[in-house]
């Protein structure tokens, strides 16, 4: 028979009281045990949203800065009137292309650092498919990544030096019935499919994307381009360059990215508001969680303190008897502290068992809902920056049925930590009563009724 047996026997002597105390302790400890993982899970979600917003913001800034020094020029399409049969005419919207001489003239304008030709032949012009050519012959195209397909869902994107390969959008791949590694034949040329472009983003996809040289070859339009992206060394020089380009050919449509600056400001404000909201949410989760943990800790310690004080008072004669029998102060201290720790531990075991089941329900009662707003940024082909706001929660947090899941769970580590904390709090709560018991004067205790 040791200290454990005596503690258990004493607890079982007052069953109702022990039960009530254990229930109260269980409530406090359940809170204590489920809060840390819940806080972490919520924090992780909000932090993810927060980081997403920050990265969108920096993308936006980079794009705006780049756009501001970027000029796009092309010829506007025109209506071509052609005879249909013998009786009528039909207006067909027709593209015009620019040739190499214009390319060189623009390249020679002072302050122009780079000119990237874009070759985009509409489906109405080339069979049923849109042909999109990107100058991958050298790395300069990477100055504006928006010219590449944005959403590769299978395989890879085009790379520097690619030739004889294509990226198809989903619809086109379906029409050709090909997948990665397959071959498509266009105007007698064979191309290997290296990537598939998803059609989910708001940005329109291109039918068939290939290198500029390949695109020009299969359409017999060597040296021609549908648009130029022109990069200027400095924002201050953009207007001068625009004037110079326009003077080369008045029919040219010249678009400056400078207008993006005005468009970008409200977008940036929008993102910074969302970022602030996410930051507030993060603080709120931490503050609320911390407060509740404190309440749980204080409650646990206070319950044990009061019940053990009561117990010590009630058992004064017993303490006196134990002392008169030769129990040392340390023995009595240990006996009472052990009882407090035992109460706390029993409650912790129940709390852990309960915690496993009530984590989702209880944590949503105790803590603020995490922010899961995600904002994506993309650029339309005309260069306009658009934000796409996904309030439902970004993909990684969606389960199969589409509901948000906060994946807080009571791991073995949490269980051990919970037991450790319960032991510590039990010891803390029973320390003073146990000291009081140990210091009891036996002669007085024996007179106590």
């Amino acid at each position: 028979m040791g200290i454990l047996t005596r503690a258990t026997k004493n607890l079982s002597r007052r069953k109702t009281r022990a039960l009530i105390v254990i229930i109260a302790l269980t409530l406090a400890l359940t809170m204590l045990i489920i809060l840390p993982p819940s806080i972490n899970a919520r924090e992780a979600l909000t932090r993810q949203a927060f980081n997403g917003l920050i990265s969108t913001d920096s993308n936006l800034n980079a794009t705006v800065t780049m756009s501001a020094t970027e000029i796009q020029c092309d010829y506007p399409p025109f209506f071509n009137t052609s005879m249909i049969g013998s009786s009528g005419t039909s207006n067909i919207l027709t593209q015009s292309f620019m040739n190499d001489s214009l390319y060189y003239k623009i390249s020679l304008i002072p302050d122009v650092t780079n000119v990237i030709p874009i070759f985009d032949v509409w489906a109405v012009s080339y069979g049923p498919y849109e042909i999109y050519g990107v100058p991958v012959e050298n790395a300069s195209f990477q100055m504006d990544p928006t010219i590449l397909p944005a959403n590769i869902t299978d395989g890879r994107n085009l790379q520097v030096g690619d030739s004889g390969v294509v990226v198809l959008d989903e619809a086109t791949a379906k029409n050709f019935s090909v997948s990665i590694g397959g071959t498509v034949t266009l105007s007698g040329h064979n191309f290997t499919v290296v990537g598939i472009e998803g059609s989910e983003l708001p940005q329109p996809t291109h039918g068939i994307t290939m290198s500029l040289a390949d695109a020009q070859a299969i359409t017999n339009m060597t040296g021609q381009a549908s648009a130029y992206k022109i990069f200027v060394d400095n924002i201050d020089n953009v207007n001068t360059v625009i004037t110079r380009i326009s003077s080369l050919d008045p029919k040219l449509q010249v678009l400056a990215g400078l207008s993006q600056l005005n468009v970008a400001e409200p977008l940036q404000n929008q993102i910074s508001e969302l970022t602030q909201a996410a930051q507030n949410n993060l603080n709120q989760i931490q503050d609320t969680g911390l407060l509740e943990i404190t309440v749980a800790v204080v409650a646990d310690v206070a319950i044990i303190l009061f019940i053990m004080l009561y117990s010590v008072r009630e058992r004064t004669r017993e303490i006196g008897t134990l002392k008169s029998m030769g129990a040392s102060n340390a023995t009595i201290l240990a006996q009472f502290m052990f009882e407090g720790v035992l109460l706390s531990l029993i409650a912790a075991v129940i709390a852990i068992a309960m915690g496993v089941f009530v984590v989702p329900t209880l944590s949503s009662l105790l803590l603020p809902t995490p922010v899961q707003t995600a904002v994506g940024m993309s650029q339309l082909p005309n260069g306009t920056i658009v934000l796409t706001r996904i309030t439902e929660g970004p993909k990684p947090f969606l389960t199969g049925n589409g509901s948000n899941v906060i994946s807080a769970s009571i791991t073995p580590e949490i269980m051990l930590l919970g037991l450790g904390a319960a032991m510590l709090l039990g010891a803390l709560g029973s320390l003073y009563p146990a000291l009081k018991a140990a210091r009891t004067n036996p002669a007085e205790a024996m007179r106590y009724e």
């Binding site: 002597r13 008897t321 134990l322 030769g326 102060n329």
Partner: protein, 245 residues
């Protein structure tokens, strides 16, 4: 002198009760030999229980010297005093003071456990001690299920289990009916005769005291009569005063 279990010299106990100063023991000296069965008698407030508590190391002497088995306990700090209580003293109380949530056997075992004695065979020894006090077969009974006489017998077994130098019994029969009273006193007398246990027993009861070998009468914190030594302090002082007269 070798056989002295207890030697008290000029013991005085003073404590404050509110503003009033109480002196339950005044300049008391006493020697008890091994194997003696001593009754301490006297009116209420004469200092009987205080004397027992001071001997039992649960109360401190204000001045004087107490030696138990040649150990001066008046100078010992609490960190050593509990060992004297543990190893030298066995208490028997008027209201038994069994641990309520332990059964008879466990109450006896607890004494051995605290004393660190008989490890590994405490259950067996507890059974033997309970048999000595006539409680065979009642080992598993909790105190509430035992009669008062039986409870006091468990308390005696508990005191015996430590094999103490002195058993201090504070009105052990005070709460018992006539039959139980006689049985308990007989049991203590038996233990004293057969096992040579030294017992100091506080009692109000002449009949109970009659079973002992030595009777001390206390009044106002002093021993006024010590029957065994045939030294009648009262007569002595009377004759002295006569001489003076």
């Amino acid at each position: 002198m070798n056989d002295l279990v207890l030697k008290i010299e000029n013991l005085t106990k003073i404590y404050k009760l509110g503003k009033r100063e109480v002196q339950p023991l005044t300049n008391l000296s006493l020697e008890v030999e091994k194997g003696e069965f001593t009754a301490v008698m006297g009116p209420s407030g004469s200092g009987k229980t205080t004397l027992l508590n001071v001997i039992g190391c649960i109360d401190k002497a204000s001045s004087g010297k107490i030696q138990i088995d040649n150990i001066d306990i008046t100078r010992l700090p609490e960190s050593k005093l509990y060992k004297i209580r543990r190893d030298k003293i066995g208490f028997i109380f008027q209201n038994f003071n069994l641990i309520p949530y332990l059964n008879a056997r466990e109450n006896v075992e607890l004494a051995m456990e605290l004393a660190g004695k008989f490890q590994g065979q405490r259950g067996e020894r507890a059974k033997e001690f309970l048999a000595t006090v006539g409680l065979s077969g009642r080992e598993q009974h909790s105190p509430q299920r035992l009669s008062q006489g039986e409870q006091q017998r468990v308390a005696i077994a508990r005191a015996l289990a430590k094999d103490p130098a002195i058993i201090l019994a504070d009105e052990p029969t005070g709460n018992l009916d006539v039959t139980n009273k006689q049985e308990i006193v007989k049991m203590l007398a038996n233990l004293n005769q057969k096992q040579g246990t030294t017992i100091i027993m506080v009692t109000h009861d002449e009949q109970v005291a009659a079973q002992t070998q030595r009777m001390l009468y206390l009044n106002d914190g002093k021993i006024i009569k010590d029957k065994q030594s045939q030294k009648d302090a009262l007569l002595d002082s009377l004759s002295k005063s006569k001489e003076a007269y």
